[in-house]
């Protein structure tokens, strides 16, 4: 039988089920564990953490997790690949090395770190050199908000991670690696796929897309037959069983909960998908209309037929910037006339804010329990609606008007419509909005700056 490698998904986002990575390592055979920690604005949260404490700026959960699983990984020869480094890859690497030493794994654990995706130190000079980093959505040049930029990172492909694996890294820590590369870098390394083997790389991207959201590919958040998906309390995260020819099986450990069928995997394939004929990554453009799915036994789906095209000459850049403030407040109204009471309270609140001269960029009122998810498609409320949550959300360029709102909400309890509750959480908090600015940049500006370091514990 030809060689297969098993690449397990352990985290779908920073804050995912903490028990999942250890379960992947302990409850059955795997060769690689991939952990995805980064969403669009995660980098800016990490940037803020580092500005308060220079030793922070990465996914902190990752370190105790490694302390827990490194002995097993070492004994079973499992390698870990994670974009946990955030904007302080060095500190994350050092913390993991310290965990390895604590576990007496000197000489057994080698940590690779991938540097060079962080563009913050270079932003001024990039713009000066004519890289305007225009917003992909509205075309504005980044110079329009430059003084408010909190983080800027280029999405990088699998190349540096593959290098680290070739240099013997047993753990690879990256910054803004694409989520999908965390899964197909091991395939490139193990099978010796060439960087222009477009179909195989595209298959790897599909595998990565299936793995990158954790249990969303194994029964979590699955709409199809959701009522009888077994034992989600003990959901098994997905595992890709990859073959050299680019075909692979999606499966999970025996004895775990959840479900993997053609329909469940199809839902994940459609997740956050744009034009399916061009799923653009730094390494290849994958055509998702070529994916073939077959049920191949109990909790096994076979994926094959994937086609790809050459990569593009630009990389995506993920930028976060400060863009005003927002606040959200809620109150709950009970039967009778629940919705009418909530609507009346909303009107009174707006009138009071108006009289104070508080100005907002936007105010949005929703009635949770009636129309907050589906809007007018929810139809009219029930005549005997038992209860409803009034939810008022506001946005402004300054904090002051939002602080006025925060003070005006609770008084409604004694000065507005009756049978109201749900205010015990205190005043609404005024939060800074960290907005997302997607842009493109020539890959030739980024790739020469990428650097791999492998250090033994």
């Amino acid at each position: 039988m030809s060689k297969t490698i098993r690449i397990a998904s352990g985290q779908g986002f920073w804050g995912d089920l903490l028990s999942a990575p250890a379960a992947q390592v302990r409850r059955g055979p795997i060769d690689y564990l991939m952990l995805d920690y980064l969403a669009e604005v995660t980098m800016s949260i990490m940037q803020k953490q580092r500005s308060r404490d220079a030793a922070q700026g990465y996914a902190r959960d990752f370190v105790p997790l490694m302390g827990d699983i490194l002995p097993d990984c070492s004994a079973k020869n499992i390698r870990v690949i994670a974009n946990a480094g955030g904007i302080n890859i060095e500190a994350c690497r050092d913390a993991v090395l310290a965990e390895a030493r604590k576990a007496n794994l000197q000489g057994k654990v080698r940590v690779g770190a991938v540097f060079g995706d962080d563009l913050m130190p270079r932003l001024q000079s990039l713009i000066a050199a004519g890289h305007t980093l225009n917003n992909m959505d509205d075309g504005r040049p980044l110079s329009a908000v430059l003084d408010r930029v909190l983080s800027a990172n280029a999405y990088i492909g699998a190349g540096p991670t593959v290098q680290a694996l070739q240099q013997g890294a047993t753990v690879v820590i990256t910054g803004r690696s694409t989520d999908t590369a965390l899964t197909y870098a091991p395939m490139m390394h193990e099978f010796g796929w060439k960087p222009d083997d477009w179909d195989r790389l595209a298959a790897g991207v599909v595998a990565g897309h299936i793995n990158e959201c954790g249990a969303q590919a194994s029964g979590g958040n699955s709409l199809i037959e959701w009522k009888n998906i077994p034992d989600l309390a003990d959901v098994g995260f997905p595992i890709i069983e990859a073959s050299e020819d680019g075909t692979f099986i999606v499966t999970k450990h025996k004895g775990t909960g959840g479900r993997i069928t053609r329909g469940v995997v199809a839902e994940q394939i459609l997740y956050e998908l744009g034009n399916p004929t061009e799923y653009i990554t730094p390494d290849v453009v994958a055509d998702f209309t070529t994916i073939q799915l077959d049920d191949a036994g109990d909790n096994r789906v076979r994926v094959h037929g994937v086609k790809g095209r050459p990569n593009t000459d630009r990389l995506k850049v993920s930028i976060a910037y400060q863009s005003g403030y927002k606040a959200v407040g809620t109150l709950v109204y009970a039967w009778p006339d629940a919705i009418q009471k909530a609507q009346t309270a909303d009107r009174i609140l707006r009138e009071r804010l108006d009289r104070m001269g508080a100005k907002f960029d936007a105010i949005r009122t929703e009635f949770v329990g009636w129309n907050s998810a589906h809007g007018h498609l929810a139809g009219p409320p029930r005549a005997d609606q038992p209860e409803v949550q009034l939810r008022v959300a506001l946005r402004a360029g300054e904090k002051a008007p939002l602080e006025k709102f925060a003070r005006e909400l609770a008084p409604l309890v004694l000065t507005g419509p009756p049978t109201v509750t749900g205010f015990a959480g205190g005043r609404p908090k005024v939060e800074e909005i960290v907005a997302y600015w997607p842009a493109l940049i020539d890959r030739t500006v980024i790739e020469p700056h990428l650097r791999v370091e492998v250090m033994a514990a």
């Binding site: 459609l270 997740y271 956050e272 034009n275 929703e366 998810a373 959300a393």
Partner: protein, 116 residues
């Protein structure tokens, strides 16, 4: 012909990219896919969502997975962290679309899921 909610013929998932929602609508059976292609059109989807979608609606066909992928532009009040919506990431747009009604030929009615 039987008029039913799309939910009975399809399942799906939705997500966000900035201010755009993508809704994947997946036929519950290969034989139901041509009905989706024919009836779940850009025009009908735009009319279904009405002012919930401010920008254009795009549709992509994926016969390989029996699916249609819709992009609903300008549907998230600016999107992500800027949005004031409870569903700022468009997670519930999937079933909002599955509320739409379609006509299913009598010989395919046995393939339908129970009503929601």
């Amino acid at each position: 012909m039987r008029r039913v909610q799309l939910y009975r013929a399809a399942h799906g998932r939705s997500g966000d990219k900035g201010d755009t929602v993508n809704v994947g609508v997946i036929a519950r059976n290969a034989d139901l896919y041509p009905i989706l292609v024919e009836q779940v059109t850009v025009e009908r989807v735009r009319a279904h969502f009405g002012d919930l979608v401010k920008g254009k609606v795009e549709r992509f066909e994926m016969p390989n997975v029996w699916a249609l992928n819709f992009l609903l532009h300008g549907a998230l009040d600016g999107g992500g962290t800027v949005s004031l919506m409870t569903d700022a990431q468009g997670k519930t747009f999937s079933t909002a679309l599955l509320r739409m009604e379609i006509d299913v030929p009598a010989d395919l009615v046995n393939l339908l899921h129970a009503p929601a």
